[in-house]
Amino acid sequence: MRAVLIYTTAEGQNMGDNAINNHVEKNMSQTIISIQGLDKTYSNGFSALKDVSLEVAEGEILALLGPNGAGKTTLIGSICGLVSPSSGVVEVGGFDIHKNARKARSMIGLVPQEIALEIFSTVWDTVRFSRGLFGCKADDAYIETLLKSLSLWDKKDNTIVSLSGGMKRRVMIAKALSHQPKVLFLDEPTAGVDVALRKDMWEVVDKLRKTGVTIILTTHYIEEAEEMADRIAVIRKGEILLVEEKEALLQRFGQKQVHLHLTAELTQMPSALEESDLELSADKKTITYTYDVMSKRTGITSLIAELAKNNVHIRDIDTRKSSLEEVFLSLVEEQKS
């Protein structure tokens, strides 16, 4: 099914299809957020951000990945005006967040980590309120489209208190999108959410991606970054360890495994293969070979040739890339040493 979310810029220009095409072509050279030398030291002396510099391209989805307390929320808060940075320059759409706060902020939509809603208000009222707060003229047609795209339309007259947790999160997103921002911040969109809701949130983000809105999300679930992001910034103890395309990151740190499922039990490993780094499963029907994707010669061809030579028949082959979790751990380990 085609995504139904129609997204228009503040000027009212429809950018639905163009945005999709742009995205497909990966035409994302325009910088929309530029952060330089951002520092934040809290009054109790805790240094939450240390000289953070980061550029975010228009239309991309960037995941800020890091453990709890890494500074993800402080970073988002500094850009959105919730936290006053100690030093550094942040520009959104070319506007400085302090000198040109109005223009910068009107481009931003924020969905904080905690659900915070006026519980006795209706969905419709609260989303309309947010739009007004951001200085946009009422546009009921747009809000209708927005609520429909987030599957909230039939709940529009419900009070917030009557909604489920997942629906409340959608309302938070609807509020953040009510003024048609160019950048959307999702702070831990799936924290404390069950598996079904998490999948649901991924779908919402996927829909948003197609509208061309730039998304910066924070997560400590590697799976989530892997699922949604184009680029990943790994943040730890207030420092950005690295920023890289997701694929590149996976490749750089990625190890891959190939599983060869055999038709019959292999009682004896062929002598030529005894030296190589192979694992035979307990039922003796699967051979696992681990290799580095980046190495020049992976050795798969010779492995299979050797097996064929020894009359070992392969029923099936599957491969598995290491997850970001493993990448992340090895990265953090690397930094420590």
């Binding site: 009222d125 309309r128 707060l133 951001f134």
Partner: protein, 253 residues
């Protein structure tokens, strides 16, 4: 000036008021009726008149002021404390609005609410006593100035308060005594010697005196002094709020 944002805040605050209109109105009207029964009928019947005015009518301006003070403070304090408490204040900070606009929205709504309550109380009072307002424009001006300045005070309390107890404590511990010692139910001239001087330090005296003057042409202090006092109070509240927003006190890390 982000007028759309001011309107959005104002409308959403008023909407909450009308959503709970019964509670919003019932309590001030009930307490006014009780005051009339106790002070107007039961005790008032033994007091012939104060400064030539029937006691029942004499207490009306004081009762209205009492309600306006309490309503302004609690509406505004609650109005800004609630987003702090529920966390929805993040939206105010991330929106393209400045503090002046936030204040106009919240304080404007709080003042409007207390003016509505004042009107309802005045109407209620007409069921008990005959009221003629000698200077309606002055009365209105005093009401608006009082509603605005005490809504500002309420706003400050709402920002200052870290919990619901603190939110209640100023209205309970400070405002109610000030109103009772501010001549809501008597003329300051009726107090014994030293107290006449003490009450001159009570800002609420000037409000009630000025407001009462606009009803009956009778005042404890000259009306211009009342006007200067309330304006001064308004100015002090604005100055404090200006400082709060400049420093981000209790609002922003």
């Amino acid at each position: 000036m982000n007028k759309t944002a001011i309107k959005a805040i104002y409308r959403s605050e008023m909407k909450r008021f009308f959503r709970t209109i019964a509670q919003s109105m019932f309590s001030p009207v009930l307490s006014t009726v009780l005051y009339f029964v106790v002070f107007g009928a039961a005790i008032g019947s033994r007091i012939e008149s104060v400064e030539g005015i029937a006691y029942g009518a004499f207490i009306v301006p004081g009762l209205v002021m009492l309600a306006v003070l309490q309503q302004s403070i609690s509406n505004a304090a609650f109005g800004i404390y609630f987003p702090k408490f529920t966390g929805t204040i993040y939206e105010l900070f991330s929106a393209p609005i400045n503090f002046v606009e936030i204040i106009i929205g919240y304080v404007g709504a709080a003042a409007t609410k207390s003016l509505i309550v004042a009107a309802v109380i005045l109407i209620t009072a007409t069921f008990f006593v005959d009221i003629k307002i000698a200077h309606p424009l002055w009365a209105f001006a005093f009401l608006v100035l009082t509603a605005l300045s005490f809504s500002l005070l309420g706003f400050i309390i709402g920002i200052w308060a870290k919990n619901f107890e603190q939110l209640q404590i100023i209205p309970m511990l400070v405002v109610t005594p000030l109103v009772f010692l501010g001549g809501a139910f008597y003329s300051a001239n009726m107090l014994p010697g030293i107290w006449q001087i003490v009450v001159k330090f009570n800002p609420v005296l000037y409000l009630i005196s000025g407001f009462r003057w606009s009803f009956f042409n009778v005042a404890d202090v000259p009306v211009m002094i009342s006007l200067i006092a309330i304006s001064l109070f308004l100015f002090i509240c604005i100055a404090i709020i200006g400082w709060i927003f400049k420093t981000g006190w209790r609002l922003r890390e």
